[in-house]
């Protein structure tokens, strides 16, 4: 049963929210966090610690929480390791504790606590070494089983996530006193402002302290400020949004939790990861309180003093009935007075500072004393001071001072700077571009000063950006007393004193780390795990390094601090992925005939982003080979149609287009006549083959280049580079027309007959339109088209292009008018089989390691002109007569298959790389020849046709005899394509 709330709480007690904790029904109110609701329901033991499985309670009231890590929701949506202190309560929330065997109350692994001497710092570097064979079978499974905190569901994340982009003049990180004052000033000055805060209620400590601003409470002032800001058109308020990181050029990442506070996301993204482009940024992220290390300082009921005030003032929950305070600064006293004001009994105030005289009515006060130990395993019962003085307490509020939240400021390697007066690191070194800090994040820890600094800094930024500053006077506010005498740990404690609660790192671990040679702060972190895991040491880092400084006899500035990296708080991997999941991982490109292919039994394969039909299955076919073989046979016997739109098409125009192409291609292009197509080979600068394709000349100044599908973009980029950077004096212009035209290969002896029914009024005879001719034509009564007589299959073949919006109609029309010619669609596999039969190179042969000579195209590299790669292609090693050459291969035993990637060896030679003769690049089963065939590169291959050699495939454990042939295994004379 939830306890009645203290007066003045910022929760809506008029409404009740039901939730479960470890299956037990509990209730809270809107405005609660899970932590405040658990405390209100009397649940003080909420977790087991990481290593020793010690009982732990709620320690803080914010994102710094090291203890209260819980699992939220159930089923696939279950999320482990979430902080109860920032989980907004909603009706129907299921929450459970984690990291225990058995129940939370009776954790079997609590035995680890008894074995603590074996688990000291660096134990995993020293243990599990012997016997070695135990590692894999015993130690690792045991460690894996014990490691980690919560459990993943193992199911796919059912939520969706999104990304987004925001732009502003000023990004204000944190909406506490400084952030709100800055936002008001910047908003009034006319800046475009984003004010982001990780909390669901803006105001920061204004909501958690008993501050007054003007004539109202701090919380009221914050609400009024937010109302004013909401009404400003140029100000965007983002609650539940954590700025996670600072990056180059004033770019920040921020995670907005959109539906985490709702029982149902209604299909909307759970979280949005924003990229914020900010002209300036102001870090107003406040400060995090730290603890003091003393014996058994980790029991449920021991909390940060500021958190105690937050639960009392903001949530109206008393974290104990008998509260003691342990402090080294004035904040502890404020805690006591706030508690007393709410009617909560304070049993003692223990101030480590000597010589104090301050008193509190009816409260035991101890100046210059320390707490040595505590009692109460699962719930604090008492504290023991030096001198053996024992005081009853079920809650201990500890204040060891405040550490400014400088994290974002050091994401670009800026080293924080130590400030003696406030005993904390503040921003230092080189800050991210455009970032400044104000308020507690800047070490300005008192209210009036924070408000003033927020306003003044925002005004400075406004002026810097050319806006008149806001002259509105700030309301009156007090600077509360803040005096601190650093006190880090109670050396007289004999019991373990915890520094990092999340990782169970004690003062002894730090001393041991130093003793064992890990005395640098970065080494300390790795050796002890201090400051790792979900809280990244927000409450422990400074305490840990101060103790390290003490044991090493150095000052804190000499000891230094570890550097911070994004993200500030944990981010779900799903948020980073955004929409890029499953099918939405990247865009897909579809050919113009895609819909038709789907209707006609096509299977598709990815070819870069393209989805290409690989074959078209027909009823009765037993597998893909049946379909592919049929498509090849029917094409070679009749006519086949293949969508080749994916090949890159580049429109090239200009007075100097011919000269340009002549420099791009290794073979001559200057004299290509209008109406003709030429096969072209591009070399890289180093002389190796880059890409091939055809280029057609449509007019004196107009060419259309085709590239391979894979290289469409790289070739375009290369041409653009050549045009802009190499030869800016040439009048040449490029534009991609890949998507503008739907292009179909029409191949086979009946292709002419088919196209004569398609193309309007044109003589397609060999004389009128011979091999390698091209023309701008019309089809089906006036639709513009381009016709090319080129052949990849080796058949009498054409490629016909129509504006891409006519592509769907075109494939249907081709199939319709070719029905009596037995026209067949063929896919990428049949296309591949036919090009291997014909000996045409493709990606497997143009792999970046092959030369024109190797491809049998050495004669194409003109020596009468200069083109990219010409000079270096003539290097001695690249032009050897006995070098690798493209050959055809077939198994000596014709029923055998061949293996792509197999190495070629001379019979009898050892099967090693020293005797390597080449490799097989492409294989296929040829339905035309009725046996397997291959293309490959063989040393001196052109002179070895007819030889029998060995194809050795160590990967598949196969060796076989193969016969070397011409790469042109079907129609080597080319009579079909020229017919």
């Amino acid at each position: 049963m939830s306890a009645p709330r203290l007066p003045g709480a910022l929760v809506d007690t008029g409404e009740t929210l039901k939730f479960t904790w470890n299956g037990r029904q509990m209730s809270g109110h809107p405005g609660d966090t899970l932590a405040s609701a658990l405390l209100a329901n009397g649940q003080r033991l909420v977790a087991r610690s990481f290593k020793y499985h010690r009982p732990r309670g709620i320690f803080s009231a914010g994102s710094e929480e090291p203890n209260a890590l819980v699992q939220l929701r159930r089923g696939a949506a279950q999320e482990p390791n979430t902080r109860a202190t920032v989980a907004e309560l909603f009706d129907g929330l299921h929450a459970s504790s984690q990291n225990h065997r058995g129940s939370l109350n009776h954790d079997l692994l609590a035995v680890n606590d008894l074995m603590a001497p074996f688990f000291s710092a660096g134990f995993y570097y020293k243990t599990f070494m012997w016997p070695a064979k135990f590692w894999e079978k015993l130690y690792e499974p045991l460690i894996r089983n014990a490691a980690g905190l919560g459990r993943l569901s193992g199911q796919e994340d059912p939520d969706s996530y999104d990304h987004g982009f925001l732009h502003c003049d000023l990004l204000i990180i944190g909406a506490g006193p400084a952030g709100l004052a800055a936002a008001l000033a910047a908003g009034r000055a006319g800046l475009r402002v984003i004010l982001a805060d990780e909390d669901f209620r803006m105001g920061g400590r204004l909501n958690e302290e008993s501050y007054s601003i003007g004539d109202r409470s701090g919380a009221d002032w914050a609400a009024t400020a937010c109302a004013e800001l909401s009404a400003m058109a140029l100000v965007r308020l983002m609650t539940r949004t954590t700025v996670q990181g600072a990056y180059d050029h004033g770019i920040y990442s921020a995670l907005e939790r959109c539906t985490d506070h709702l029982a149902d996301s209604s299909g909307k993204p759970r979280q949005v990861l924003w990229r914020i482009y900010a002209r300036r940024a102001l870090l107003c992220a406040g400060a995090t309180e730290r603890s003091i290390a003393f014996g058994n300082n980790d029991r449920p009921g021991i909390m940060l003093a500021g958190a105690v005030r937050a639960y009392v003032n903001r949530f109206g929950v008393a974290p104990g009935r008998k509260v003691a305070v342990f402090t080294n600064n004035d904040d502890g006293w404020r805690t006591a007075t706030d508690l007393l004001a709410k009617g909560v009994r304070v049993t003692a105030v223990i101030d480590t500072r000597k010589g104090g005289t301050r008193d509190l009515d009816g409260v035991r006060v101890d100046h210059g004393r320390q707490i040595l130990d505590t009692s109460g395993r699962k719930d604090l019962k008492s504290i023991t001071m030096d001198g053996g003085i024992r005081v009853e307490a079920d809650c201990l509020a500890v204040s060891g001072g405040w550490s400014p939240n400088v994290h974002i400021s050091s994401h670009m390697r800026g080293r924080p700077r130590w400030r003696e007066d406030t005993a904390g690191f503040v921003t230092g070194g080189e800050l991210p571009w455009g970032l400044s800090a104000a308020g507690a994040a800047n070490g300005t820890l008192t209210l009036a000063a924070a408000l003033g600094e927020g306003q003044a800094t925002a005004n400075r930024i406004a002026e810097d950006l050319g806006h008149a500053p806001d002259r509105t006077p700030l309301p009156r506010a007090e600077d509360e007393p803040f005096q601190i005498t650093p006190f880090w740990h109670v050396t007289a404690s004999t019991a373990r004193a915890f520094v990092d609660l999340q990782n169970d790192v004690t003062t002894k671990d730090i001393a041991q780390s130093h003793r064992e040679g890990f005395g640098a702060v970065e080494h300390l972190k790795r050796y002890t795990t201090l400051g790792m895991a979900t809280d990244q040491g927000k409450t422990s880092n400074v305490l840990g390094l101060a103790i390290l400084a003490e044991v090493s006899g150095r000052t804190i500035p000499e000891t230094g601090t570890t550097i911070f990296r994004p993200p500030y708080t944990p981010v779900a991997i799903g948020a980073y992925a955004g929409r890029a999941r499953g099918r939405d991982f990247r865009p897909t490109r579809l050919t113009p005939s895609h819909a038709w292919a789907l209707e006609n039994g096509a299977s598709f394969t990815e070819s870069g982003p393209w989805m290409r039909a690989e074959w078209f299955a027909r009823p009765g076919e037993q597998g893909w080979r049946d379909s592919v073989d049929r498509e090849v046979r029917m094409t070679r016997a009749g006519v086949g149609v293949c969508d080749v739109t994916t090949l890159g098409k580049i429109d090239i125009q200009g007075r100097d287009a011919a000269a340009f192409l002549n420099r791009i291609y290794a073979n001559p292009f200057l004299k290509l006549p209008v109406g003709k197509v030429r096969y072209g080979l591009m070399l890289r600068e180093d002389g190796f083959a880059d890409d091939d394709g055809t280029t057609a000349r449509l007019s004196e100044t107009h060419y259309v280049m085709t590239t391979t599908t894979a290289n469409a973009v790289p070739v375009f980029r290369r041409l653009e580079f050549a045009r802009q950077c190499l030869w800016p004096d040439l009048d040449v212009h490029l534009i991609s027309t890949t998507d503008a035209w739907a292009q179909f290969a029409v191949a086979g002896p009946n292709s002419r007959a088919l196209l004569s029914r398609v193309v309007d009024d044109m003589d397609l005879s060999n004389d009128a339109f011979p091999f390698m001719a091209c023309a701008e034509v019309t089809v089906f009564g006036g639709t513009p088209a381009r016709l090319f007589r080129i052949s990849f299959s080796g058949e009498l073949a054409y490629e016909i292009a129509v504006p891409s919006r006519y592509g769907d109609a075109m494939i249907r029309a081709l199939m319709q008018v070719g029905k009596d010619l037995d026209v067949v669609p063929y896919g990428l596999e049949a296309l591949g089989v036919m090009r291997i039969e014909k000996g045409h190179a493709a990606g497997n042969e143009l792999n970046g390691q092959t030369t024109a000579q190797m491809l049998g195209l050495g004669g194409m590299v003109s020596q009468k002109k200069d083109a990219i790669g010409t000079v270096l292609s003539q290097r001695e090693e690249m032009t050897r007569d006995d070098g690798l050459r493209l050959v055809g291969l077939r198994p000596l035993e014709r029923s055998e298959k061949l293996s792509a990637g197999a190495h070629l060896l001379n019979p009898g030679d050892p099967q090693d790389m020293a005797h390597d003769q080449g490799w097989i690049s492409s294989v296929a089963w040829s339905p035309t020849l009725s046996h397997a065939i291959a293309l490959g590169f063989l040393k001196n291959g052109a002179a070895r046709h007819g030889e029998v050699i060995l194809a050795h495939d160590p990967l598949r454990g196969r060796s076989q005899k193969v016969e070397v042939t011409s790469p042109h295994m079907v129609d080597p004379e080319g009579t079909r394509q020229r017919g």
């Binding site: 475009r192 107009h702 009048d731 212009h733 027309t737 504006p803 891409s804 919006r805």
Partner: protein, 186 residues
């Protein structure tokens, strides 16, 4: 004679998300015009004569008589207007009388008009540019990338954008925009 009629990349898609409408523009003619080396003055004069269109700068479209002209690179323009001619470059070439190199681009692109109150919130999820009217007023255009897709974005009026992207990935483009609209709608 077989029937051969054009199909828009998204079949004339038209969807509403509350008060916001996403419509495929199916009759948009697109012709790229390359400025010959040293020929900017001649082309500028001819554009004025033929279409009453000033040569645009790199950020803002010029428009006249139902035609809009944007400058996609220092030497390349894109002319757009309402027309279903499958080869609109032919007419432009005639009008320019050799002062520019023209290429039909109609089929290379899919065009979507996004208009209504969700326009900016939806684009915030995918477009890295600042689209607030202060920085991207009507008439302003830019070439950018959204979810890996190259996009030309043109502000056509208050809360209204015209978006052009490659026609082969039109399905992914539509999915991207509709996901954004769904994600930001009530």
């Amino acid at each position: 004679m077989a029937d051969i009629t054009p199909t828009a990349p998204l079949g004339g898609h038209d969807a509403r998300f509350g008060e916001t409408r996403l419509t495929e523009v199916t009759d948009l003619a697109l012709v790229s015009i390359a400025i010959p080396l040293g020929g900017e003055d001649a082309l500028t004069s001819q554009l004025e004569r033929a279409f009453a269109l000033p040569l645009p700068d790199a950020r803002t479209a010029t428009s006249a008589k139902g035609r809009r002209l944007i400058r996609l690179s220092p030497d390349q323009l894109m002319l757009m207007w309402q027309d279903t001619d499958p080869d609109p470059a032919r007419g432009v070439a005639a009008a320019l009388d050799g002062t520019g190199y023209v290429t039909t681009q109609t089929g290379a692109w899919v065009a979507l008009d996004l208009a209504g109150p969700l326009t900016l919130p939806a684009l915030e999820r995918v477009c890295p540019l600042a689209l607030h009217p202060d920085s991207f007023p009507p008439g302003r255009f830019a070439r950018t990338v959204m979810e890996h897709l190259s996009v030309v974005i043109l502000n056509t009026g208050p809360d209204a954008m015209r978006l052009l992207s490659a026609s082969s990935s039109a399905g992914s483009f539509l999915h991207m925009l509709e996901t954004s609209l769904r994600n930001v709608s009530d």
